[in-house]
């Protein structure tokens, strides 16, 4: 383990950070893929060469960008933006055979269906290989050379990892440590140690958490922060709180207008009254969101960015808009 982390508030741009590898972590359904894709588009638009890695064989990036499934290996989805969908099977083959040259271990595991479930279930081999593939992407150079000792410019300036939902996402980040605990020595141990070093190198790797302004996602996010801090020395850049309802008549001088408007509306009935009820509800949700934002901020001591709720469909323009908000997030 390295020395203790610098305080997270030193980070200038909490969304992307200075690190080349960024893991986007959060509960299912909070918008991780949308945020990862928006970040990728924004960084690519600035001239960075970006690769988005989707874990567990997910295919959200292609759905969001309206292009054919990206599959494996990495495929171009936009200017300077590649994406790859890392399935456990593909990653295991690729990582064990090509990167580690453990062809024999691969054959052993995958030609023997009595061993495979135990390797994956108990030892977490497929998780290790999936995270190993991220290290593999990090190693790749522009000229096709490869490995920790290669020189020359990298193939990707930025690798954004769209993690599976929290529980599995955290298991993925811990997979290297798990394998080290089990094997204790040998080549798989050594390789796991290399992955663990990359994850805990705070100049290279960071985590961005994503959540919603709701009870369970906020609680789970704070639990994740605690557990990541206690298990690993991985940099936590910040928390994005997604789909925050816009404020309505929040300033003092507007509140008098608001009260008048509600009275007027209820006298009018029909759409006017329904709109006012909607407004009351939105103000209430906004108030709740503010409380959750405060709780996240004080509970995690991390930078918190609120993203507005996007109404209607989510197209490329909205993704660029979110990307610009994320990029502009200064501490």
């Amino acid at each position: 383990m390295q020395s203790k982390s610098p305080p997270s508030s030193d980070i200038k741009q909490p969304a992307l950070g200075e690190q080349r590898v960024l893991f986007v972590v959060g509960k299912g359904g909070v918008g991780k893929s949308v945020i990862t894709t928006s970040l990728g588009l924004a960084a690519a638009a600035r001239g960075e060469r970006v690769c988005i890695a989707e874990m567990n064989g997910a295919e959200s990036v292609s759905t969001l960008l309206g292009c054919p499934p990206v599959g494996y290996p990495a495929t171009k989805v936009a200017e300077r933006l590649d994406a790859i969908s890392i399935s456990p099977d593909k990653a295991t083959e690729d990582y064990l055979v090509r990167a580690l040259r453990f062809r024999k271990l691969y054959d052993l595991v995958f030609r023997n269906r009595y061993i495979e479930p135990f390797m994956n279930g108990i030892l977490g081999l497929s998780d290790l290989c999936s995270i190993g593939k991220i290290m593999d992407l990090e190693w790749q150079r522009e000229d096709g050379s490869y490995g920790p000792d290669s020189k020359g410019p990298y193939r990707y300036d930025r690798i954004l990892v769209d993690c599976p939902a929290t529980g599995h996402g955290l298991a993925l980040l811990r997979a290297a440590q798990t394998m080290m605990d089990v094997t204790r020595a040998g080549p798989l141990y050594n390789n796991s140690a290399m992955i663990a070093d990359l994850l805990e190198d705070r100049s290279k790797t960071a985590v961005l958490l994503v959540t919603l302004p709701e009870e369970m996602p906020v609680t789970e996010t704070l639990e994740s922060v605690t557990s990541l801090r206690s298990d690993m020395n991985i940099a936590l850049n910040g928390i994005v709180i997604n789909a925050v309802p816009k404020a309505l008549a929040s300033s003092k001088d507007l509140q008098a207008f608001w009260s008048d408007l509600v009275i007027e509306a209820s006298a009018l009935g029909g759409h006017a009254a329904a709109a006012a009820r909607h407004g009351v509800e939105r103000r209430q949700r906004r108030g709740q969101a503010d409380a959750y934002i405060a709780r996240l901020s004080s509970g995690s001591r991390l930078p918190v960015l609120e993203l507005p709720k996007i109404s209607g469909s989510l197209g490329i323009d909205e993704l660029h808009e979110l990307g610009a908000l994320l990029e502009g997030w200064q501490q």
Binding site: G29, F102, I115, I122, R184, K246, E264, G270, A274, E281
Partner: protein, 390 residues
């Protein structure tokens, strides 16, 4: 706004069942709907248990309970208003959260052929890991517990909240897969009846005598004690497996029978409804029919006016005002209101598509997003009321 009328209400569709399985993809509010359905059923006079596999303590927090709910726990309804807290004579609401590890321990304790074999499993270093992480183990344990509870006849109804999954049949197939793996492994990997587990011996059994070279590969990468540990773990399960298979097939029969109803939960977004549609079809392929649909957290706009809004607030009757602040406020309110109506129309279209696809005779409950959030008993009670009217 549904154009078709289901022949049954949600309540009717679930009335005489012994088991209600609540399924759907992640993030749609399955746990909340499960607890609300359970409360609604308790109000009809039944003894109800709601069981969840959710590790996030969501069930406990929405039921207003601080404890972990590791055991069947009676839910006190004191926090509710006087009309809402009364259950009919004999009715009750219990809840529990499944903990895969402790259910595993229970199965091993109860069904191990002898004390020696029991201790051998419980003390195995890989058992700890496997109990939580072996694929299908959570699902298998849910079935074990379900069967135990149904057999005990302590309840008239068990509501089962399933873990989130992308694949609808995972919950049903995972236990079979897990047992298949254990079974095959035991045949192939059966350990010596007596004496220690030598890695070389395990290797010989596993790969055949001619394949020692393969074993040495395994040993080189992982170390020999990993292999012998796993081998010991698997072989110690041989005495348990017949019973496990028997009970699993009994549960499958129960789930496919008329005594069980599957309820599919979705949220009103296009993506979620598409997933629900896929879920419905996959369940059908697996021989399971969905008995009811719940679309959770729909836009809370009154039905009567859920149509095109006037394009400006003034058409709706608001008086123009000279004050700029007032004007801006009114415009932003109107924009937001129109967005909600538009969203509601889009959602409605998707919901109707789902309903048509699954069959309009199926009851479909639309549960509006409540003001505030559902993480206390009062909100749950409101939801239960809405569900029982659906």
């Amino acid at each position: 706004m549904s154009s078709t009328r289901p022949s049954l209400s949600l309540q009717d569709a679930l009335a005489d069942r012994k088991v209600v399985v609540v399924c759907g993809t992640g993030g749609v509010g399955k746990t909340t709907i499960s607890a609300s359905l359970a409360l609604a059923a308790a109000r009809t006079g039944r003894r109800v248990l709601v069981m969840t596999i959710d590790p996030a303590r969501r069930l406990a927090s929405s039921l207003g309970i601080d404890e972990q709910l590791g055991e069947e726990t009676l839910i006190p309804l004191d926090a509710l208003t006087s009309q809402e807290r009364e259950l009919p004579e004999g009715a009750s609401l219990h809840a529990m959260m499944l903990d895969a590890k402790s259910t595993w321990d229970g199965v091993v304790r109860r069904f191990a052929p002898n004390a020696q074999s029991r201790d051998r499993i419980l003390s195995n270093r890989y058992y700890q890991r496997a109990a939580g992480s072996l694929a299908g183990s959570q699902e298998y344990m849910a079935m074990e517990k379900l069967l135990e509870v149904v057999r005990s006849e302590r309840y008239d109804l068990v509501v089962l909240d399933t873990p989130p999954t992308r694949n609808a049949l995972d919950f049903l197939e995972a236990p079979q897969r897990m047992m298949g793996i254990l079974q095959d492994s035991i045949i192939k990997w059966i350990a010596p009846q007596s004496g220690g587990f030598s890695a070389a011996r395990a290797g010989a059994l596993l790969f055949g005598r001619g394949q020692q070279a393969m074993f040495s590969v395994f040993e080189r990468f992982l170390g020999s004690d990993v292999l012998s540990g796993i081998s010991e773990f698997i072989s110690s399960f041989s005495g348990l497996l017949d019973g496990m298979r028997e009970r699993a097939s009994e549960v499958m029969k129960l789930l496919a029978s008329e005594e069980t109803a599957f309820v599919l939960v979705a949220s009103p977004s296009r993506i979620s409804l598409d997933e629900a549609l896929y879920f419905h079809d996959r369940l059908g392929e697996g021989g399971i029919s969905v008995r009811a649909l719940v679309v959770n957290r729909t836009q809370p706009v009154e039905d009567v006016i859920a149509k095109q809004a006037p394009s400006s607030p003034f058409e709706a009757g608001f008086a123009p005002s000279g004050a700029r602040g007032h004007q801006a406020l009114l415009e932003s309110l109107w924009e937001s209101y129109q967005n909600v109506l538009r969203q509601r129309q889009l959602d409605d279209r998707s919901i109707n598509e789902l309903h048509l696809h699954c069959g309009t005779e199926l009851p479909l409950a639309r549960i509006p997003r409540l003001q505030g959030e559902v993480h206390d008993l009062q909100a749950l009670s409101t939801l239960a009321g809405l569900l029982s009217q659906s």
